[in-house]
């Protein structure tokens, strides 16, 4: 990685000083992508550790958790809150939007870097700072913020209620900084894709993953503004004592819920779309078949983006909103499942009749389809106000959104890593260890969350620290399911160790990868592995669409985008 990214203008070989300079100040999009990826993965370790601690507390309440100690109610709340915050804002966002976007966009549209490389650098620096602020918020007096990742007032706005005056404010500042980082990054992504495409890269020749990252960036940009305003108001409620969310003095806590979910629901699609895009780009490669319905995929993605702004209140069916409004939001929520289902059908249609190779990236891509389907189908129950009122704040909801976010943030991420690792590093990951990692992760993941569907159906509420205080919920069958989920969590975490070893071993000792190991057609495979600073000696020109597999014009079964047609 490092050799390839040395600035060609510096005449000297890499020294320790120049390596440090690259780490801190490089504007190369691949270095920044790698930094986002590593930061995201490190935060995932912290988030995973938190999940381990609170799962152990639920399965074995009151006992010391190995590696943490005794869990107090305050600890428990802070762990659950920050697990959610970290996994969405510091894992899913950096790895799926920022790392994938930074690495793929310039390489896939055929230019040498982002259009604003120094803004790109600034975006990562602000993001890194936000991660440090969040970690600091866990260690201040009073402990980390424990008012759930949605931070509803008055719990979040009044230190008398949340008991974490410093933790709550630092948490909010960290989240706001993270928004700023991704706003800057998103502007860069959109502008780069609009303005810096290679000659011949018309709109309908852009790989789907680039489209999806760009649409996700626009969704983020449009939805996050009101929440930034909302965060300013919440911060002044916390620190200055204003009453924006305080009903005693004319405010309204529901305002925050609207501002939060107006952002929060599009945010689901902000992280979903890049993962869907990664899968869309992997499936044609390993099915050796043209992507089925490129334009349909693009249009339904845009439809999803538009619809995602009209579904937010389905999170608030029990918050005292007008029942007529609940009907409206039920209808829009059920509507939005149509374009997403259409996308899944397009993926299945691409697989149909292909000559499928079950290499590791393909296994992850197919697992994404299967597991996300379960998440999507259970979402129908929660989108309909009649059933949601029953399921609200139970473990059914927890299981549902983990069946969507785990495929997005973890399975989609691993699909992307296994697919583009040879390009980014110039070496292959070990296939056997990859498959062990895959099966261990997928099987144990299902054992974690399927019991939670049943716990939720049985009425188990989400935010309870110790179920022994609730005789109805502490029964034998319930506790057994909690223990199964907890053991599966530990197995799931243990199965990430082969990946970490494989990852670092392969960076230095893996099998050398040639320029185009998967025989793929998109532009990034026409650059050297790993691509040097500037990506190509002469920037490529594009002659055809991104998925020309099984083309009659070529002797092999694929025709890359940059090969000149021989007429």
């Amino acid at each position: 990685m490092t050799e390839a990214t040395i600035d060609p203008t510096s005449p000297k070989a890499p020294t320790i000083g120049s390596r440090i300079r690259i780490c801190l100040f490089s504007t190369d999009h691949k270095v920044i992508a790698f930094q986002y990826l590593i930061t995201g993965l490190l935060m995932a370790i912290i988030g995973g550790y938190m999940a381990y601690v609170f799962r152990m507390q639920l399965a074995f309440p009151g006992e010391d958790v190995p590696g943490f100690g005794w869990v107090s109610p305050g600890h428990y709340n802070a762990l659950v809150t920050n697990h959610g915050t970290i996994m969405i804002f510091w894992v899913a966002m950096p790895v799926l939007v920022a790392a994938a976007g930074n690495f793929l966009i310039p390489l896939m549209i055929g230019c040498d870097d982002m259009v604003f490389p120094r803004l790109n650098r600034l975006s990562f620096q602000i993001f890194f700072l936000s991660a440090l602020v969040l970690i600091a918020s866990l260690h201040v007096s009073g402990g980390g913020f424990g008012g759930a990742w949605t931070a509803y007032p008055p719990l979040s706005s009044d230190p008398d209620f949340n008991l974490t005056p410093l933790g709550a404010s630092l948490w909010l500042i960290a989240v706001a900084l993270e928004f700023v980082a991704f706003l800057i990054g998103g502007i860069n992504f959109v502008t780069t894709t609009m303005n810096a495409r290679a000659p011949g890269m018309s709109l309908m020749r852009i790989p789907i993953v680039v489209w999806m990252i760009v649409i996700a960036s626009i969704l983020f940009m449009v939805s996050v503004g009101p929440l930034i305003a909302g965060a300013v108001m919440l911060l002044s409620d916390q620190l200055a004592g204003t009453a924006f969310y305080d009903p005693h003095n004319g405010g309204d806590p529901l305002l925050w819920q609207h501002l939060f979910w107006f952002f929060g629901h599009p945010e689901v699609y902000v992280v979903l779309l890049p993962a869907m895009g990664i899968v869309a780009d992997i499936i044609p490669v390993f099915a050796r078949k043209k992507f089925f319905g490129y334009k349909a995929a693009l249009y339904v993605t845009i439809a999803t983006g538009v619809l995602s702004f009209f579904v937010w209140a389905h999170h608030q069916f029990v918050a005292g909103i007008d029942p007529r409004m609940a009907h409206l939001f039920t209808a829009t929520t059920l509507l939005i499942s149509i374009p997403i289902a259409e996308l899944c059908f397009l993926y299945i249609a691409t697989l149909f009749g292909g000559s499928i190779e079950f290499r590791t990236p393909m296994l992850w891509a197919i697992a994404f389809l299967v597991e996300f389907l379960l998440g999507g189908v259970t979402g129908i129950y929660l989108g309909a106000s009649a059933t949601d009122i029953n399921f609200h704040d139970t473990y059914f909801v927890v299981a549902h959104f983990h069946y969507t976010f785990f495929p997005i943030a973890i399975i989609g991420l691993f699909a992307g890593i296994y697919h583009w690792f040879p390009k980014a590093v110039g070496r292959h990951l070990n296939e056997t260890w990859g498959k062990i990692h895959f099966w261990g992760t997928i099987v144990s993941f299902n054992f974690v969350f399927i019991p939670m569907f049943f716990l939720g159906l049985g009425g188990q509420h989400r935010r309870i620290f110790d179920y022994r205080h609730f005789p109805d919920l502490a029964g034998e069958g319930f506790q057994d399911m909690r223990v199964i989920a907890t053991i599966a969590t530990c197995v799931l975490i243990a199965f990430q160790i082969p990946f970490v070893i494989n990852f670092f071993h392969s960076i230095w000792k893996g099998k050398k990868a040639e320029q185009n190991p998967w025989k793929a057609t998109t532009l990034e495979w026409s650059a050297a592995s790993p691509p040097p600073h500037g990506n190509w000696k002469t920037l490529p020109t594009v002659y055809r669409g991104p998925y020309e597999y099984g083309s009659p014009d070529s002797e092999e079964d694929y025709l890359p985008q940059h090969i000149e047609p021989n007429t």
């Binding site: 303005n195 996050v224 009101p226 909302g230 004319g250």
Partner: protein
Amino acid sequence: MSDTFQPPIATSRTTAGLPTSRLGTWWVVASEIVIFGGLIVAFIMYRMRHGEVWAEQAEHTKLYAGALNTFVLLTSSYFAVCAHKAAEAGDGKKAAKLLVRTILLGGVFLCVKAYEYTSEILAGYGPLADLFWSFYYTATGLHGFHVLVGMIILGFVAKDAAKGKNLHRVECIGIYWHFVDIVWIFLFPLFYIASGL
């Protein structure tokens, strides 16, 4: 770092048919619109709920000061447009001189704002006096912050323009400055004029 920085080829491409810097500026403006949009919509919702009480509070904002500031800000935008015209013609010195006038008027705006804040707080209408005033100080404060940041960037652009460098940036900062202007055009009627029912 900046002295050795070479912009990539990507920056000079114009696939979409307009310069990258202008395109980027428009996206910045788009993301700012939703930030102020969220705040303004929240204010309007509350304003409708608290009709009479807030109408009475709004009587105490200084209409003449707000009107003066509207005039000052619109005039500063006029100079930004003139600076753009000069930059298009390649006259960096003239553009810089006009941008300095924009900056000075931005300063006048902030001085008038400071006078308003002082006299309102002295009259007992501080940020905690009522939710109306919390909104007033948050919205005008956020706007004032944008004016200040705009003045600083204008300063850098004017310094470059005086040397004939980066003249395309005159237009970009102009777009941003007009946006800040338009936000004020929304804030002025909402907080100053709409004091009746």
